[in-house]
Amino acid sequence: MSEPITPGRLHPEQADPEDWPTGRQLRRLTRDATEAHTGGSFMEAIAEVYSVLFSMVIALAVALGAVQALNATLSTGPEQATLDPTWLSIVATLIVVGGIIGLAARLGPIGMGGGRATWWLTAPADRRGLLRPRFVLVPVLGGSVGAAGGALALFLADGTGTQILWGVGAFAAGGALLAMATTAGQVLRGNRKERRVRPAVLIGDLLMAAGPVVGIAVALLRPPAPQVQNFTAWPVLVAILAGLAVVLVWWAERNLEKIAGRELRARGAVSAYAGGAVTSMDTRELGRALSVVTAPDSRRRSASFPWVRGPVSAIVTGDATVFWRSPRHVIQVFVAASLGLLPVLAGWPIWLNLASLVVGGYLAAMATGEGARRAEMAPVLDRHFPISAFDVRKARAIVPLTVMILWCVPIFGLWGAAHGHLVGWLIFGLLCAPTFAAGVIRAAYRKPPDWNKPLVNGPAGPVAPGVMLAFARGPDLVVLALIPLVIAAIAIGPVPILMMLQLSTSALGFFVATRVKDETKPSWMEQAQAEQERQQREKARRKGGR
């Protein structure tokens, strides 16, 4: 008969519980080990920032040079605002509040992912100590985003100095309160089963979507604006919001241990994914991170896709379904529309209108490229159909192109209504749509930076060399291919010659974005970079040998 097994015999070197590391010690040990792996030069990252800015400056210089050569005068934009500033601030507030709630709920706010979840959650250290840094960040980040949003909202509402100051305070306290309320939801949920759609995510997304809807409705119906200027109870509001936030901070900190390990891992996986995407400046990964579903999927019916005949319609149907079934992406298109529309309605200077239009257009296009981004992540998806690589990319551009045509028509129509030349601007919008689609396809298929090279230790943590160049791939094409639009907007208007030019640059951009080079062969830039690295190694070797 075998002897009974005692824990002491199985683990003869088991430490005394008093010798167990605290959560804080475990955190420090991990941080020190991570930092030991960096070694790249920070100047490499600076050089990349320079390259990115340089391409944007070139685009602007070309546009301004063309304006000067044509001896045209710079446009000043629409003279009158069509939307009351107070309504503008309300729209901004809805978007900011929705954004805070949605983001906080998607990211946890409390979570622990990746290696930390594996090593820390199984350690006998106190969880309050392990979670405290993340916990402290929650009200700070919520407050910061709230303050920034508040400053924007009060600025839009033409608030006075004191009003802006109190408003920022109220928004900051409100932001912290919202973030802490989401944390409290995590604590209260305890060990209960997760729902398919988290209520806070739904509330956040609905509020964000309500922003542009309210903006457009108000612009069309012109109801009288609420009188925010007469509001005098700012100090009381700030005190109430801040007081509630402090109470929630105190309560949640004492109850951090109640958050289930499953919840910490699930939220941590999402936030680690998103954090990695932010530090590596990879918008593709950020989108994927925010789309991660951690709850069990409820059974749904399958569509039969009877209209699909052949590879192109299969790819387009797949991409369209991916877009349509992701409310976050549909909402992103609407929010991006508000970015393009509101500055025009507010009668802001032309350069602000233009910047908002380009940024809004690119944001909207980004929402439509999930199919391409997925295919880049899992290349087999592209190689699955009997169609060449070049044709696959063209097919993957169809959904972004269609959505962007639908996006550009109302936005450029409104632009035309505000600036004059309605038909001309509508045509310009149609010609710009392929550029936005091309930008998002180029961004989706960009090569990720090489994380095997020595990392660069930046303020947000170690990053791979090449992240900025990867980040710029996509926006660079949009900026350069929209030079005719810039010239038309700031000086000449939608004249036929610029339309022809826009047609040419859009076609060229589309060709560049859908071109497929042999990915197994290094590009000339990669070859040049490899040669530079070889020379640096040689130089270092000579120095060491001396």
């Binding site: 789309s291 579903v293 069990p296 999927d297 059974r299 749904r300 019916r301 399958s302 569509a303 039969s304 896709f305 699909v308 005949r309 052949g310 590879p311 319609s313 299969a314 790819i315 149907t317 797949g318 379904t321 991916v322 079934r325 992701s326 199919g371 997925r374 899992a378 290349p379 087999v380 998806l381 190689r383 699955h384 159909f385 009997p386 169609i387 060449s388 690589a389 070049f390 044709d391 497929v516 042999d518 197994t520 062969k521 290094p522 490899a530």
Partner: protein
């Protein structure tokens, strides 16, 4: 009497192929590989971890540049970008490749319809049943277990037309019943004239499916019979 040379090119012809993840021949993970696979043949690549099985498969699927030598698939140098290659070669690698918004059934429907097949519904139903996904056919891939996701990827490869199947450790995450059914399915594939190239650690799959086996090691490459290959796995 000397053997007469067949005029039909082999499905796969690897000539002194060196593979690895560096840029020079020094970074090759194994000695050069030379092997032919005729139509209706089954080639298994076996060896311990890190000897280059998956790397060779990626090169054969056109996803990795060769460090030396050449590979021809269906009589042409590998270029996975072409329509012809994609139409005839079905690849299942060790990665989760799916669109999270589509259900299991929708993935298979789109694949079959995308290849312009007829009687799509019947084919998809058959594949779903064959790979044990009937109860989960309306679920999104994110709601499946890792083994079920593996079944989905294999089903997607079988629901479409192909001449050559490239499989990276197809037995991974499958239960023993499913492994047996997969072996039967791959035998049927061969009997119908299709080719199978697979990296595997499963001696049963090698005995059932392979007609020849490449045994990879750090310092040598051997091309042996199915039985000898299965024994090589068992000896690892």
């Amino acid at each position: 009497m000397p053997k007469r040379k067949s005029s039909t090119p082999p499905l796969v012809r690897a000539s002194s192929v060196s593979v690895g993840y560096g840029s020079t021949i020094d970074s090759a993970v194994c000695p050069p590989i030379s092997v032919d696979l005729p139509a209706g043949g089954g080639l298994a690549i076996v060896g311990s971890n890190g000897t280059g099985k998956s790397t060779f498969l990626r090169a054969a699927a056109g996803l990795l540049d060769l460090l030396g030598g050449s590979i021809q698939v269906l009589g042409r140098p590998v270029d996975e970008r072409t329509q012809q290659f994609r139409a005839q070669v079905a690849v299942v690698l060790d990665e989760d490749s799916y669109l999270p918004a589509l259900t299991v059934r929708e993935h298979l429907l789109l694949t079959a319809r995308g290849h312009g097949m007829s009687e799509v519904t019947a084919r998809v139903n058959e594949a779903i049943e064959e790979f044990g996904l009937t109860a989960r056919q309306n679920a999104a891939p994110t709601a499946l277990s890792s083994g079920q996701r593996r079944r989905l990827l294999l089903a997607a490869a079988f629901v479409r037309p192909r001449t050559l199947l490239v499989l990276d450790e197809p037995e991974q995450r499958l239960d023993s019943g499913m492994r047996d059914r997969l072996a039967e399915r791959l035998k049927l594939e061969r009997s119908q004239g299709g080719g199978v190239v697979m990296a595997t650690h499963d001696p049963v799959l090698v005995r059932e499916v392979a007609s020849k086996v490449v045994v990879l090691a750090e310092d040598e490459v051997r091309v042996v019979s199915a039985e000898a290959g299965a024994q090589a796995i068992e000896a690892l």
